[in-house]
């Protein structure tokens, strides 16, 4: 079996497992997996920006929050049918991401990181300031979607499957984008801006669009989050969320599509296990596991799977062009090292 077929089989296996979940587990676990899917969408969006396009964002929690509040407010205050709030949240955050992406073009590396961090800090404050609209620190409870009577599913199963459907659409969209011409352009920008521009790629347009798209993904995830949890408050959207997403893309595997799922599994389940082991040492265990993970699997979970795949494949196929592209280290030093002129 070639490596490519192995990969395909792997993805199919994942899909099958995902479909089985609501029927194998009770409502609590299913709820956890629903959240995993929610996070996976946001993490995928961030990976588009960071892994595939070489930018950085420490503020995706803000877009996540923006999407969540958009959905929550539309459902509770404007009686908009909940399904409709998903694309609306996506559009709102897409626009927000675009508006931020334009001035952010001037920022690189650490400075862009700070700019986005500023967003993450500002948003909870703005939510509190406009508490007439958002209910501020009290938080806003949202009626969660229930399983329609013509479907044989329980509420938690329905919610999971609905989230799975939306997540699948988002994943397939990202995957086909990355395989397309536009995807190559996005990756080219990451690998070297100046060479990319000599190839005729419009840097500014590509970068802002990717920023907007990745924000849109976070916004869609935010809306799904509202369905899953049924409550929004500024305390739920602190800087911790943005940092967790960042950790997740590295844990899952930078510049991978499926990695987002593993990253989401990590940030959802490891803290719970850590606090089960010893609630006085939760952070020590979680931080320790994170460091260990980076030590053992610097390419993330998907990196590990790929290595296993290479070993298992009986007939190593000729290296396929797109694989090489994704695994290659950027030829030019990643921007933002503050390196003055004269670097060899």
């Amino acid at each position: 079996m070639s490596e490519r077929k192995l990969r395909l089989a792997g993805v199919w296996a994942l899909v099958v497992l995902a479909l089985l979940v609501p029927f194998l587990f009770g409502p609590y676990r299913v709820g956890q997996f629903t959240l995993v899917l929610v996070y996976a969408v946001a993490i995928l969006g961030l990976n588009l920006l960071v892994g595939y396009n070489g930018q950085i964002s420490l503020g995706h929690g803000a877009f996540f929050a923006l999407g969540a509040y958009t959905s929550a407010l539309l459902i509770e205050k404007a009686d908009v049918p909940y399904l409709l709030t998903v694309p609306i949240a996506g559009v709102v955050t897409f626009v927000g991401g675009y508006l931020f992406g334009v001035p952010a073009l001037r920022l690189r590396g650490l400075y862009l990181a700070l700019g986005t961090l500023g967003l993450a800090i500002a948003l909870p404050q703005l939510i509190k300031r406009f508490d007439g609209l958002t209910e501020g620190t009290q938080g806003l409870t949202v009626e969660q979607p229930t399983s329609p009577s013509w479907l044989p599913f329980a509420d938690d199963q329905f919610l999971y499957l609905l989230t799975l459907l939306v997540a699948a659409i988002m994943f397939v969209a990202a995957w086909s984008l990355m395989r397309s011409q536009a995807g190559r352009a996005i990756k080219a920008v990451r690998d070297g801006e100046i060479p990319a521009s000599t190839l005729g790629i419009n840097l500014a347009s590509t970068k802002t669009r990717v920023f907007a798209l990745s924000a849109g993904y976070a916004g869609v995830a935010g809306a799904l989050y509202v369905f899953a949890i049924g409550f929004v408050a500024p305390e739920a959207f602190t800087v911790t969320v943005s940092l967790a997403f960042l950790a997740a893309i590295v844990v899952g595997g930078l510049a991978t599509i499926v990695g987002a799922v593993f990253g989401a599994l990590f940030i959802e389940f490891v803290p719970v296990y850590a606090s089960d082991v010893n609630d006085a040492l939760t952070g020590v265990i979680y931080g320790g596991v994170l460091i260990l993970f980076m030590y053992l699997l610097p390419d993330g979970a998907v990196g590990l799977l790929r290595r296993i795949g290479k070993l298992v494949a009986r007939r190593p196929a000729a290296p396929e062009p797109e694989e090489e592209e994704e695994e290659r280290r950027p030829a030019v030093a990643p921007p933002g090292r503050g390196v003055p002129a004269g670097k060899t």
Partner: protein, 409 residues
């Protein structure tokens, strides 16, 4: 292509088979879940990690009480199994903890969940599941305001509206024309106290002349303090949590701002606030309390206090002078009383006992009782006493002030 078809068929088959195999987690119809002849399972969600982790002492105090009760034979021979989960003060984690406790651990009741947003996040769900959601660890007036909407939920401590009423009463007596400057935390806790105070001073000659807020994520409140000190207030109302309370006291002293300084109950801890800020700077501070001070000499020989300190020493890592531990202990004592008074081992019976209680909890101040009178009474404790810091300790002042909510709800 053929492979994909196979996989799909396999998947569908697996789905069909597995479809019947899901373990349903709601129990049968006999006894209520979480209670057997041998044990009662209680669930709690607390911030064991994260920015609010200082409050984990509350959980430790409660656990110590349950251990003590278990050592004495439990409640009617049933051992209390207190399952606590960490939510890091994050609402989504609290939601998941509530689900886990109710669905997976099958607890009999949720007890002492901490934090206003966390409890708001879960109370719709918990009430829908008809699980007792008792003695939540937050002073928001929300829990008792409309018992009909969430009949399974009830608070415990004197809520922030009661507390601010007590401050207003005190000021009305001592300084009827007080001009007050307020520092408050910009969240549900701070706003509740501030708004409660504003309501309480309506119709009096007390005036708020300056207001400054701060965020829990701010490093320091020095600029807010400078602004407040610059106003023409003669009274300072300090609505903060411990770290910022200490900063405010220290800033007050440094600025030489010599006004009547009222500090809210959460920050009235000698251990966590006054000692770090400096006992000299803390002279003359006024606050309220409703339980016996573990750091003061007044209750050293008190039987209830001795029992508390010995249990805490035996069953926890708590510093015996930490007042948050006493809080947890008192709430736990109330729960055990309700469990003892329960007429049947059902959740409804528990709520009935909770809603019809008149209890003297030994660790509370004499004159302060846990009292509920029926389903419309959402506030178990509605009394506090003023205390003033003199020398090295808090000294109780005057009498217990009853500050019941108007209209009984």
């Amino acid at each position: 292509m053929r492979r994909s078809v196979w996989v799909l068929l396999l998947a569908m088959a697996a789905l069909l088979i597995a479809g019947c195999g899901r373990d349903e987690e709601d129990g049968g119809g006999e006894a209520d879940p979480g209670i057997t002849d041998e044990e009662i399972k209680i669930g709690g969600s607390y911030p064991f990690s994260g920015p609010a982790s200082a409050y984990r002492s509350i959980a430790e105090g409660a656990k110590a009480y349950f251990e003590k009760v278990n050592a004495e034979g439990g409640v009617d021979g049933r051992e209390i199994n207190f399952i606590t989960l960490d939510d890091a003060y994050e609402p989504p984690k609290a939601v998941q903890n509530a689900r886990r406790l109710i669905q997976q651990e099958q607890v009999f009741a949720l007890f002492n969940t901490l934090g206003t947003p966390n409890n708001v996040a879960i109370w719709d769900y918990v009430n829908k599941q008809e699980v007792p959601h008792v003695y939540v660890a937050t002073g928001a007036s929300l829990w008792g305001a409309d018992p009909n909407s969430h009949p399974w939920t009830i608070g415990w401590q004197p809520d922030y509206v009661t507390e601010s009423q007590v401050y207003a009463d005190y000021l009305d007596q001592e300084k009827p024309r007080a001009k007050v400057a307020v520092l408050y935390q910009n969240d549900a806790f701070g706003e509740d106290l501030l708004n409660g105070f504003k309501d309480a001073i309506k119709g009096t000659d007390i005036e708020i002349v300056a207001e400054e807020s701060y965020e829990v994520t701010d490093p320091t409140v020095s600029s807010q303090m400078a602004k407040l000190a610059n106003s023409d207030a003669d009274t300072f109302l300090n609505i903060t949590t411990p770290k910022f309370g200490a900063q405010a006291i220290a800033a007050d002293a440094k600025l030489g701002w010599d006004v009547l300084h009222i500090i809210n109950n959460v920050s009235a801890s000698k251990l966590l606030v006054l000692e770090p800020a400096g006992l000299d700077a803390s002279q003359g501070l006024v606050s309220t309390t409703y339980f016996k001070d573990p750091a003061g000499p007044d209750w050293e020989d008190d039987a209830a206090m001795k029992e508390y300190k010995s249990a805490v020493g035996k069953y926890s890592r708590l510093n015996p002078e930490d007042p948050f531990g006493v809080f947890g202990w008192g709430a736990a004592a109330t729960l055990v009383e309700a469990l003892t008074n329960m007429k049947e081992p059902t959740r409804e019976a528990l709520m009935e006992a909770v809603r019809n209680m008149q209890l003297k909890v030994p660790i509370l101040l004499p004159g302060i009782e846990v009292k509920t009178s029926g389903t419309q009474d959402g506030y178990p404790i509605e009394a506090m006493q003023i205390q003033r810091f003199e020398g090295e300790n808090w000294k109780l002042v005057g009498d217990v002030i009853q500050a019941p909510h108007s209209g009984g709800s």
